[in-house]
Symmetry: C2
Subunit: 359 residues, 2 copies
């Protein structure tokens, strides 16, 4: 494997203590190979992260408790059994299908680092997950990516039909804004009656990241590129990822920071942090695509590069892609330097998680 030659490979020994529970549980049969692979693949990224490896922070328990709180908020936001039943069922099916709730966690963590109580940002955290789910439901439609499975379950339109899937997406999108604008979604000390300016600003951020400057723009260009046999140029690949992935991660962080009472200068630093981890998220996705295929199919990485989908490894090669990921993680960390170390720990470890995740 090419990565064994990476100059920073020696630093891999610090990986295990850094990421308690961040990797999904692999099947027993694949544990050994997986672990070996895991330690090597992210060695470059880990080099820059190693300095913080001593921080005491239980990432697994942080993510677990936040996901639980967000899931409760999402569950309460959509009535079960109320008219129209099929619509509410479809919304709940898509929204409560599990998932790691990375975007809500970013939102809550950013609220905390800005000096707020994380609970202030529970409504926006639920809202960003609603928006994320809407984009998945619409992107999975037969006329789009035509996906039948999502997280191992049949997709929304497979279960409820296309019309309900389109409409459930629309309803989730509007519910996100309703949730953001409702006094009842917030603790009393930060509700829209007390801090309307924060709420308006946060709503504007959320709205911007969805449409023709965000998720939708990314999906449009992705669809345009899918039809052709041409290689997507790097600039276009970055456009897709910045819009389809990074925009909502950026909004999640910025919205949390706004609700938490961040200054403009803090918001801009957190925005830069979020852009870096947003692109990092996608670069890692691309690396996983290639290296996972190598494992599963017993093919060399070089063969995967010949597949149809344009990825960072395909355009840059695997080593340069890892270096790029390393650079993005380092950029993200840099933006957190000025914040209180303890308060910034969740955002720091979310960045590590995004860099090191296995799926």
């Amino acid at each position: 494997m090419a990565m064994a030659f990476h100059p920073l490979a020696a630093s891999r020994v610090r990986l295990a203590p850094l990421l308690p529970g961040a990797a999904a549980a692999p099947s027993p049969a694949s544990v050994a190979a997986h672990h070996h692979h895991h330690r090597r693949r992210f060695s470059a990224i880990v080099a820059t992260a190693a300095a913080s490896a001593t921080t005491e922070f239980d990432f697994k328990s942080y993510m677990g408790s936040r996901a639980e709180a967000v899931n409760r908020a999402l569950d309460a936001a959509i009535p079960a059994g109320e008219d129209p039943v099929s619509l509410h069922e479809a919304m709940r099916y898509a929204l409560l299908a599990g998932g790691k709730r990375v975007r809500p966690a970013l939102c809550l963590a950013a609220c905390g680092v800005a000096g707020g109580r994380e609970a202030w940002a529970l409504a926006p955290a639920a809202a960003v997950e609603m928006v994320h789910t809407m984009s998945l439901v619409h992107d999975d439609l037969p006329c789009m990516d035509d996906d039948d499975l999502r997280r191992g379950k049949p997709t929304c339109h497979v279960v409820y039909g296309e019309p309900i899937a389109v409409l459930a997406g629309d309803a989730l999108l509007s519910l996100a804004f309703h949730h953001m604008a409702s006094v009842g979604s917030y603790p009393p000390d930060v509700d829209p009656d007390k801090h309307p300016a924060r709420v308006v600003r946060a709503i504007g951020e959320l709205a911007r990241c969805i449409g023709s400057e965000g998720l939708v723009a990314g999906q449009v260009v992705d669809l345009e590129m899918t039809g052709t046999s041409e290689i997507v140029p790097l600039e276009r690949l970055e456009y897709i990822h910045l819009h389809k992935t990074a925009a909502l991660l950026e909004a999640s962080v910025v919205i949390g920071a706004i609700i938490g009472g961040a200054t403009d200068e803090q918001i801009e630093r957190l925005r830069k942090y979020a852009r870096s981890i947003g692109l990092l998220f996608q670069v890692v996705d691309d690396i996983l695509d290639v290296t996972k295929s190598s494992e599963e199919l017993g093919k060399t990485a070089g063969k995967d590069l010949a597949s149809d989908k344009t990825t960072y490894p395909k355009l840059l090669g695997l080593d340069k892609s890892r270096e790029f990921a390393e650079k993005l993680l380092s950029d993200a960390k840099e933006q957190l330097a000025g914040f209180d170390k303890e308060k910034a720990a969740p955002l720091l470890h979310l960045a590590y998680y995004i860099a090191h995740r296995q799926n």
Copy 2:
């Protein structure tokens, strides 16, 4: 024709001066029959409106100037030729296809009656039209109502394809909220920095009327009813109309009133006004469906009642439907009684227009 026997038919002489320019221009060949038909058909409704027939108010010029202002705002809200070009083109195609801009006019007029300058509500007025357009684009999709034509032009998915139509709808929906939340969309004396609480409340109203309590709920139940050969019960028909049509008219009025600085008591009166004209809008639509068919096909109204679509005339008969429309117009007028007569003139004449329109 049955309506000639209506007890209030004699009042029809007052119709012409009441509605300058409200009816769409008919083809020369149909003018005589149309006019005759027109005068008779709405005689019942006009009876209650006749008392205000002397009001000086140039409805045609009011609607023309407001539509122009709203069209300018909509045109400015979506860049032409910017990346992704196909998406922006599709959004502009759907949004700038003409139409009477009834919802924006209601929004502006409600801002005025609440004591605001109408220009304050230009951003929300544009936003409600974006939401309306989104609902048309998605409802027209092949998997929904499968409509190829809208206002005499090919529908969005026919021109740009299904994926872009779905995504253009999503982008219009998020743009509506972005527009509502942006300082630059408002005159400086009422922008979100000055009146954030008004803007948050208005955004909450807009969001609520779209999803599972509004447009989407109405479309879901409408789709459910379309498949069956059963007659839709009156309660279900009203559910569809209150959600699919009235909810956005209500939001248009209430949002305008909120931005205009209305008191809670004023907002509730205007909300009742809007609910009445919202349902009126649909009852009149149903009456037009039946009576237009009668004319065009030379069939009696009774024969049209046998058609598949459940309408108010089908459930109540034509006379009772007209009485219901009359009652709704009268209810709407009643809610305007406490407001300054001159400031309330646009909303009053919008109610007349909705009652008397020909398409």
